[in-house]
Amino acid sequence: MINPHLNLFIESGLFVDGNMNWKPIMPAIIILAPLIGFIINGAISLYLNRPNVNSKGESSNGLKRIVSVVGPGSILASFIVVGLNGFRMLLAGHPTTFNANYWTWLQTSDFQVNVGIQIDTLSIVMMAVITGVGFLIHLFSIGYMESEKGYARYFAYLNLFVFFMLILVMGSSYPIMFVGWEGVGLCSYLLIGYWFEDEEKASAGKKAFIVNRIGDLGFLLGIFLLHSALGSVDYVGVAENASGVFVYGGGLVTLITLFFLLAGVGKSAQIPLFVWLPDAMAGPTPVSALIHAATMVTAGVYLIVRSSVLFAMAPVTSALVAGIGVSTALFAATIACKQYDIKKVLAYSTISQLGYMFLGVGVGAYTAGVFHLVTHAFFKALLFLGAGAVIHSMHHALHKVHSEDDPQDMRNMGGLRQYMPITCFLMWIATLAISGVWPLSGFFSKDEIIWMTGSFAMAESSPFPSLYKIYWVMAVATALMTAYYMTRFMVMTFHGKNRTVDGAGSAIHETPKIMLIPLIILGFLSFFGGWVNVTPHLMESVIGGFGALPMTDWLHHWIEPVIAESHHIQLENIGETGHVSPVGGGEVFWAVLSTCAAAVLVIGTTYFKSKSLSYGVLGEDSGTISRFLYNKWYIDEFYDKWIVKPLGQMSKFCWLKFDQGFIDRAVNLSGRSAKGIGWFGSLFHTGQVNTYAFFLTLGLLAVLITVMF
């Protein structure tokens, strides 16, 4: 199947040592390539920022070309090495785990962390998505960011992001993952605030940063607790010791997993920490595609799958994971139904789909979670990039006619299909995929999650059977809602009458080639990407064309070694999962039904929407529920009132009462007294030093009293 020459090439001494093990430098290239890209682009960006360079246009053009090569090129380089690693693993037949330790990072009496990487089937899937989709998005950015001022800076940040993201998934222990975890947070913060002239956008970055800090708190505490309990924080050690130390449903493992869940909830924008993601859309659209759809936000899912052994032993946490996931999925879907900003719809849709992934890993379907992560990376990246192309086009067109209209507001669009037919076509693929229409990728991944939820509810001794049944219903409802809002999104953008201001319509043009190529590749992946993980059961049914279509359940076997232990625990404690859904009917039946429902909904809405939408629907929705949804359940206002403001007041209060109160007086008085008889004497009359001394004494007395009594 695989070219023998390639095989020979891979196994030559260049990459492997005498025992046919990987040389540690090879995997390191994957991480180092984006770092080198960052350094080169960063240096160019710094050079171009010098005031005397700006005037010399021609030299900066040459440098820009270097950036355009180095930026995507470094990611392509890592993708190729990832591919080599992947092939090597495939050839090995039985996927082996590769561990390399480079140096000891931290060592105290009983705490040791090595700087090391672990390449196994799970991390290689993640790496492939990060570098593969990442490369396409880098490519797209060349066109999208072309006329931006900080072109080099943008690529520098983007490379840096990929670097940290790779550390996150390739690290061999939780602390290394934490390094990447913090790093991607930092890059996200930098990239959201990329257009820093805009105050609102910069503050969106801050919001993202703070909310993520709350998650990081959970991560750190989880790591420390894990270490206290197991004595090791690397994946191998945790997997070896976990079942010996923890008991199924025990308090300690529940606490640790709850902390990890908090971390995941922050990073993956789940209830209640999702508020930062819609605001994060302030960054450039390719950034949204890469960081806030395809890679970084899925880190929470990765963390849970990585810790599957722990989560499998904590049924309460797992139920919470699934509950948070499915609630978020439903909740975000309702909001997405009433948004008008093209990126906001996609943002809430992302939150919703991340909810599905959480549901998947919450019901022990770790493979399904990863599967949906992968397919979602394809179709959501495509949707975001497509939306970016639309915004790009709209922006130029509106600019041409000097219109002040918002290029991101879908009420200003409509009928764009005639101007951007290829983009429209590709985005329909993604829309059908995310809606779960057969045979596109989203169908298989989402269906598996919903199916596994149902069968988990029907397991022999499912921990909370009725709860999981509710989850199942919510998941199905969300699936239908997804089809609705995505169709609304497409219809408002591409169909019906064109609603742009006069004359602007004709200025809208098809996406440039450099941006179109990534879209086409992603379209291909969104279509066929789901065929790598189809259960034999489905393959032989009508879904798989009775075995005629080239489908496989490869991914399932591929991921299995990483999560085998958790399946073992699950089997021991809750027994076989059921093979019927909560309301009867087999797997195939529901698969067919869900497709039909989604398809009907998509077609129905298209028909209905294209008729009712015409020029001039710009008015606000008047209904109470519409307004409620449009305002996103007033969650932001709620947080602002109950958390942000009180905290700010507390800080100000501490400051004013305990510190500033004295100081203000002192500063004023010292200014005044300098003119007077002599500031030296007056200093004693300010009351300030006296007050300080008084408080010092008071503090001493307080301390003494505490000790004595």
Binding site: N49, P51, W103, T104, W105, L106, Q107, T108, S109, D110, F111, V115, P175, F178, V179, E182, L186, Y189, L190, G193, F196, E197, A202, G205, K206, F209, I214, L217, L220, L221, F224, S228, G648, M650, S651, K652, C654, W655, F658, D659, F662, I663, A666, S670, W679, F680, L683, V689, Y692, A693, L696, L698, G699, L700, A702, V703, L704, T706, V707, M708
Partner: protein, 491 residues
């Protein structure tokens, strides 16, 4: 080392003696020249003091063969003292380097300035090595009085004079408390020698009111010096009013010296009676971490911001005194070393942005620094990240060590408070970074355009060396940790 003959005492205090000689030499030079308008005096004297620091460093390295664990004299020549000398010498070397162009621009009396800086370092080094509370007191006072004078050295600055006076008055007050504590301890144990106090407290119980009161007063004296809430109130005012390089020196050297001593006295020699001060320290650490970080959130003056940040770091370090196990002790040493480098590097950048003066000290003055001065901005960002404890910087490793130490002694709540307050602190550290990278300089007509920043060689050196050290300490910390583990008091 035996202290039977006087020569050995001189040897034991070799680094201090060298520095003192240089300081006196600089003073004599000042008297002989009496020409304050000489522009290059700063550069010349700066180099001489730097040479003094380097000479002291060489002697310090030469003392390693003589290092014993416990000496019976009143001066310890243990590896702990030698390590603290390294940190203090490093701090003062950096302070000297960032002072040179500052004193020239500000026309400060240069000989006194550098001499006082060296004297302060001598005092701190004496204090960290002393095994007798009286000698601790003497060292502390040498350092304090030098710094009081340094705070007021710019006589044309009323703010500086006010700060110096305030520092002096409150410092005198806290010294009184400190001395009272020493007296009470002496009264109850019959000695001011730490080893004898250790022996006298072996089976002390909580009925020894005099001893406990003395210990608490001693602790309060230290808490004042390192700025622990609620004894911190002088810090922001004094930091704000003092000349920039001196603020930097105060924030690292005084804090480091005091903490090295603090740990030696409480973590080792008063460990027997931890029942008396443990709870108090627990609360002080908690209040300091949370309080200082909260207040720092709303600061706009960078010197005040750094003052509160410094207070917060005192809170973190107080945990190590409390937990006093080997991990904690390594944490303390590691943290102080990294903190010294990061904070001094930060002040180097501040001095540059302020253009060797005392203006442009608001956070908003840093807007657009990233595009105008990317090197400075990048270095400052790394230092800020290190102070916040971002992974892959030295500060992260320090925090991890402190956390581990706290958890080993089951101070879980303090560990959680440390993590939470660290997360809060990210906000204000990154706010400054955010201004540097994310904001353009406001184009208000009434403020004149910021002058072009010219980086003198000395400051370039400080920034570059600090940058390398911080990143190195974050990525390859094991060597430094290994070295620190040989320098511990707790073997």
């Amino acid at each position: 080392m035996s202290f039977l003959n006087q020569w050995n005492y001189f040897l034991a205090l070799g680094p201090q003696a060298i520095l003192t000689t240089f300081a006196i030499g600089i003073l004599l030079f000042g008297v002989s020249r009496n020409n304050t308008s000489d522009e290059h005096q700063g550069w010349l004297l700066g180099r001489i003091s730097l040479a003094g620091v380097i000479a002291a460093g060489i002697v310090n390295a030469g003392l390693y063969p003589f290092a014993d664990r416990l000496s019976d004299g009143i001066v310890a020549v243990d590896r702990y003292a030698l390590f603290s000398n390294w940190v203090l010498l490093l701090g003062s070397a950096m302070a000297i380097l960032i002072s040179i162009s500052y004193v020239e621009k500000q026309r400060i009396q240069v000989p006194e300035y550098f001499a006082l800086l060296l004297f302060a370092t001598v005092g701190l080094m004496l204090m960290t090595a002393s095994l007798d509370l009286m000698l601790v007191f003497i060292g502390l006072e040498i350092a304090s009085i030098s710094v009081y004078a340094l705070a007021t050295i710019d006589q044309r600055s009323p703010k500086g004079s006010e700060a110096g006076l305030k520092y002096f008055l409150l410092g005198a007050f806290s010294t009184g408390i400190f001395l009272y504590g020493v007296a009470l301890i002496y009264g109850s144990t019959g000695s001011a020698n730490l080893t004898e106090i250790l022996n006298a407290t072996v089976d002390a119980d909580d009925t020894g009111v005099m001893l406990i009161t003395g210990v608490i007063m001693l602790a309060v004296g230290f808490c004042f010096k390192v700025g622990v809430v609620p004894f911190h109130m002088w810090t922001p005012d004094v930091y704000q009013g003092s000349p920039m390089p001196i603020t930097g020196y105060m924030s690292v050297a005084i804090k480091a010296g005091a903490f090295f001593t603090f740990y030696r006295i409480f973590g080792i020699y008063l460990d027997n009676i931890q029942f008396s001060w443990g709870t108090v320290f627990w609360w002080l650490a908690l209040v300091t971490m949370i309080g200082a970080n909260l207040v720092a959130l709303v600061q706009n003056n960078i010197k005040r911001l750094l003052a509160y940040s410094g207070i917060a770091h005192s809170g973190y370090l107080l945990i190590t005194v409390l937990a006093n196990n080997t991990t904690s002790e390594s944490g303390l040493l590691y943290y102080l070393a990294v903190y010294t480098v990061a904070n001094m590097g930060l002040f180097a950048g501040f001095v540059l942005v302020a253009n060797h003066a005392e203006h442009r000290v608001e956070v908003s003055d840093y807007a657009g620094l990233g595009s105008k001065q990317p090197f400075i901005a990048m270095a400052l960002t790394v230092f800020l990240l290190s102070l916040g404890g971002f992974p892959a910087t030295g500060g992260f490793i320090g925090k991890i060590l402190i956390l581990r130490g706290a958890l080993e002694d089951n101070y879980l709540l303090l560990a959680i408070a440390l993590v939470i307050s660290t997360l809060i602190s990210y906000w204000y550290y990154l706010r400054l970074a955010w201004f540097m990278w994310m904001k353009e300089q406001a184009a208000t007509p009434n403020t004149e355009k910021a002058p072009e920043i010219e980086i003198p060689l000395a400051l370039k050196l400080v920034l570059a060396v600090s940058l390398v050290l911080i990143v190195y300490a974050g990525i390859f910390p094991s060597q430094l940790i290994g070295f620190i583990e040989t320098s511990l008091l707790k073997g």
